[in-house]
């Protein structure tokens, strides 16, 4: 999603840059340093449901009279449908409807990301409205039947013939015509400070390297699915989504109906990682439900996920570093091209890390896109940063080697005192501390000289790399607090895909309200609740936190008013009270206060309800806000076969205040494990002759299995960011960043070989 754009739009709509700088910082959140429920390893609130098999996912909502959908996918990448023969499918047992562009209802194209803060469309192509084909795998027909078996079979009976047009499929050819995108998530596509090429040429130490990274699939174990019902003019969609309210708004536009008439529910999402957005399957299912007047379940097959829901795109990158003799950088160049389509907006921001990480005398950071006839690519865990850090951080390792410097020492010498490209002050940056702590714990000092440590046939090596991801907070979210004598419910239409949102925000609410954890609940996953923001850009935790904080201010004001002058709180201002022990109390005068139950009872009220929208994320305009980490890896590489085994891994992070150590550790580990996949095995095979994805299967698209994953050690600085709600940063994406490089650097240390193309499969090490 257009993270930066959305943020900027919201902020600059109201204030200009100069005003931003003049606006005072928000006061430090008192909860940033307080220890209550926050900071504790509270077990997940949805644990019993999930381990009991009782959590209901999108394809699991029982509905009377349900029909099941199956899709037919195009087999060409570009061109048009010439003939469509659906007779056999229509006549097949159990078939309720065969929908093609010939009978699909008229639908407006989806509003694409960034065209509006609430636009959710992954692409702005019209969906099944005409015979044209834009990618190999585009749905050309949808079959509805009484059972899934019948639908699947009937789908195999639809005959389609095509007239192919010339398709741009080769990345290398398209690279020659690469062009600058309008922006890279609201940031300029090119940043040049000084004459970096000249500085590079003049530098005493230089590396100038090319990198390739392949397409990736999110591979959430839950395939995309939706259960769709029209109740009269009202539409209900049980979806697997990480963008509830944006989906609601975008669907309203597509179907020409009112937002209020659409309800999206998504209480559980079986993994998202950026992939669970609005793709064509939900839209087609809604259209089919409309045509057939029957409820519809669409559960994509695993192949369907690869054909219909895009993944991370491929990149070609250059990193060139020029260093002075003292180890400072004279030039930092990071440029390259990502494959994209003409209909989407996701340029894979691989130059972002280099914009903020290191000091250099000059910079050239530029990225372009090459148009390919393929399924729209999208955001996947740390888009850009994941593959960008692979290039940047292995190049730094090569530079360190060329200079005979320890790679951590090199990073000390290029540590900036302010953001090197924006000039803004860092809100909270403790990267070198993370390095120091990590190095100590990992035993970095034991790192062998390249190719010098061998155990039997196994060569052993260690590598390190920086992890980084921006801090984002999304505007537009509102939280509601319902307070009763029994406790409180906090409501916001946000998402739980396994990050631990419901647990962490319950902890937050408990501390914010001064209630025990058992007496608060966090409700989410439903557009009938106050609008949440997307679960993307690692922004959700602080976005919810800011809304809850705002709602709490409203609540306190209401409570003081209700308490009135007969209360021990009488005459106190909001700033003088704090929430604790199940009520409001004077901050200093510990004896003076009143419980919520008592306030409510005296006022004769069963509950107080307070709702507020989060303030605009001014902090991101004022400061350079990022999370950091140091990733340490030990590998064993077979000298015989080139097989790589990761034997040890440590992530040392600086991500503000950690709210729940247990769920946080899991998030970091999950990111690191996806990073191991990126480093060693993951590649969506895109056949450039046909534009077809050839491994749409979890047997052939390899993700790490149990045996690939060692016990992963995770530590953190736990230093609150004074400028963020709760002192926290999002942590969902940083885990994957730097991992590719840490593994590649470890492999070099073990074998003496540099591999600059992902994944590092064994053939590259023979």
């Amino acid at each position: 999603m257009s993270i930066v754009d959305t943020v900027k739009q919201a902020v600059t709509g109201a204030v200009t840059g100069a005003m931003v700088r003049l606006t005072p910082d928000a006061p430090v959140d008192p909860l940033a340093t307080k220890h209550g429920a926050l900071g504790r390893s509270v077990p997940r609130v949805d644990g019993p449901l999930k381990v009991g098999g009782q959590a209901r996912f999108a394809a699991e909502v029982p509905v009377e009279g349900l029909t099941y959908a199956a899709l037919v996918y195009s087999t060409i990448a570009h061109g048009r449908i010439v003939t469509l023969d659906t007779a056999e499918a229509v006549a097949a047992p159990g078939v309720v409807l065969v929908m093609t562009h010939e009978n699909a209802p008229r639908m407006a194209p989806p509003a694409i990301f960034m065209s509006n803060p609430r636009a959710a469309g992954a692409s702005d192509l019209p969906i099944m409205q005409d015979p044209s084909i834009h990618w190999n795998g585009e749905p050309v027909a949808l079959v509805l039947a009484d059972t899934q078996e019948q639908a699947d079979h009937a789908a195999s009976l639809v005959r389609v013939s095509y007239e192919a047009a010339q398709a741009d499929l080769s990345f290398d050819q398209a690279r020659a015509q690469a062009h600058a995108p309008d922006s890279v998530l609201g940031e300029p596509a090119r940043i040049a400070i000084g004459d970096a090429e000249a500085a590079l040429a003049a530098a005493p130490y230089r590396v100038d390297l090319s990198y390739r990274t392949p397409r990736h699939s999110h591979g959430a174990i839950e395939p995309h699915a939706a259960t769709v019902l029209w109740e009269g003019d009202k539409l209900v969609v049980h979806d697997a989504t990480q963008m509830l309210h944006a989906t609601q708004w975008t669907l309203a536009g597509i179907f020409g109906i009112r937002e209020e008439d659409i309800r999206i529910l998504s209480p559980f999402v079986g993994g998202g990682f950026g992939g669970k957005g609005l793709w064509s399957h939900q839209i087609l299912a809604i259209a089919a439900a409309k045509l057939s007047k029957r409820p519809v379940r669409i559960a994509l097959s695993r192949e369907g996920v690869f054909r219909v829901a895009g993944g991370r795109t491929t990149t070609g990158q250059r990193v060139a570093l020029g260093a002075n003799a003292d180890g400072t950088l004279a030039a930092l160049i990071h440029t390259g091209v990502a494959a994209m389509t003409a209909h989407n907006n996701c340029p894979e921001q691989f130059t972002f890390p280099a914009r903020h990480l290191y000091a250099a005398g000059s910079f050239l950071l530029e990225q372009k896109v090459a148009d390919i006839h393929m399924l729209a690519n999208t955001f996947m865990r740390a888009p850009g940063e994941s593959v960008g850090t692979f290039a940047l951080e292995t190049a730094l390792d090569e530079l360190a080697e060329a200079m005979a410097l320890d790679p951590i020492e090199l990073r000390r010498r290029i540590e900036p005192d302010k953001d090197p490209t924006s000039g803004r002050a860092f809100s909270s940056r403790h990267l070198l501390e993370a390095y120091a702590k990590g190095a100590e714990r990992f035993g970095w000092s034991q790192r062998p000289a390249p190719r010098s440590r061998r155990e039997g046939e196994w060569l052993v090596g260690m590598g390190v790399a920086t992890a980084t991801y921006p801090y984002y907070r999304m505007p537009g979210g509102s939280a509601r607090i319902r307070l009763t004598a029994e406790g409180a419910v906090v409501q916001m239409g946000s998402h739980e895909m396994g990050m631990g949102t419901a647990t962490a925000q319950a902890q937050h609410a408990a501390d914010r309200l001064g209630l025990p954890l058992e007496r608060v609940r966090f409700e989410y996953g439903d557009t009938d609740l106050p609008p949440g923001t997307i679960a993307g850009g690692s922004s959700q935790t602080v976005s919810i936190a800011a809304a809850l904080l705002a709602a709490h201010e409203v609540l306190v004001a209401q409570l003081l008013k209700l308490a009135g002058n007969d209360s021990p709180l009488g005459g106190l201002k909001a700033a003088e009270v704090e929430a604790r022990d199940g009520g409001l109390h004077h901050k200093e005068d510990t004896g003076r206060g009143e419980s919520y139950a008592s306030i409510l009872a005296r006022a004769g009220r069963a509950e107080v309800v307070a709702q507020a929208e989060a303030p605009r994320p001014m902090e991101v305009m004022k400061h350079s806000m990022h999370s950091y980490g140091a990733q340490f890896c030990e590998v064993r590489v077979s000298a015989v076969t080139g097989e790589v085994r990761v034997s040890r891994f440590l992530g040392s992070f600086d991500c503000g205040r950690i709210l729940n150590p247990q769920t946080a550790r899991s998030q970091f580990r999950g990111g690191i494990i996806m990073g191991l996949g990126l480093a060693l095995m993951e590649e969506t095979e895109f056949d450039e002759r046909t534009g077809r994805i050839m491994n749409p299967s979890l047997a052939e698209y390899h993700v790490p299995v149990h045996l690939d994953v060692p016990e992963i050690d995770v530590i953190w600085t736990d230093i609150p960011d004074p400028h963020s709600p709760l002192g926290a940063h999002g942590i969902g994406e940083i885990g994957i960043t730097g991992v590719g490089a840490a593994v590649a650097n470890a492999i070099h240390n073990a074998t003496g070989r540099r591999v600059r193309e992902l994944p590092i499969t064994l053939d590259k090490l023979l």
Binding site: P48, E222, F268, V269, G670, H706, E711
Partner: protein
């Protein structure tokens, strides 16, 4: 077709093409067992048949008539969650929870295999002896259950605590 599912006799008349997984989910509304790939490649659909773990997505229901099937819904006892389920919560052995039912059933079947002395690809000496479920053995034997959230460490801890004899010390 007749089955015994979680101890209960069940009759169902379904298409011959229906997999055991779809029988459970779409016909019996036992949605605890998950569909991750329908290709035998992820293990989310793992159930126990007569105590043996299988991938129910590649199992035609008709082939499993008159067999005893245990799903995640059948793991808890009268006194609440199975100790392994409890341990998954304690060790954070899941995030999104989608692979979890398969991991749980697989772990229980896996422990029974080890108990019977079934070796694995990492067993050093095949010639006999009881299997010791060390870290490598556990990870190899659980490798048929993918977890994209990456909860592997917690899963292994939970299994070790619950199903590996002597691990408590």
């Amino acid at each position: 077709m007749r089955f015994t599912i979680n101890g209960q006799a069940v009759e169902a008349s379904v298409d011959l093409r229906t997999s055991l997984l779809d029988l459970l989910r779409d016909h019996l509304h036992l949605y605890g067992t998950k569909k991750g790939c329908n290709q035998g490649a992820c293990g989310a659909c793992t159930v126990l048949v007569d105590g043996n773990r299988i991938n129910s997505c590649l199992a035609l229901a008709v082939q499993y008539q008159d067999r005893a099937v245990t799903t995640v819904e059948g793991l808890a006892g009268e006194h609440g969650l199975h100790p392994l389920q409890q341990a998954f919560i304690e060790h954070d052995g899941f995030q999104c929870g989608y692979c979890t039912p398969g991991q749980l059933c697989s772990a229980i079947g896996m422990a029974a295999e080890a108990e019977r002395g079934v070796p694995s690809a990492v067993t050093a000496d095949l010639s006999a002896g009881p299997v010791v479920l060390d870290h490598d053995e556990l990870r190899e034997r659980m490798s048929g259950n993918l977890c994209r959230c990456g909860a592997y460490n917690g899963i292994v801890e939970a299994i070790t605590q619950t199903l590996v004899t002597g691990a408590a010390e």
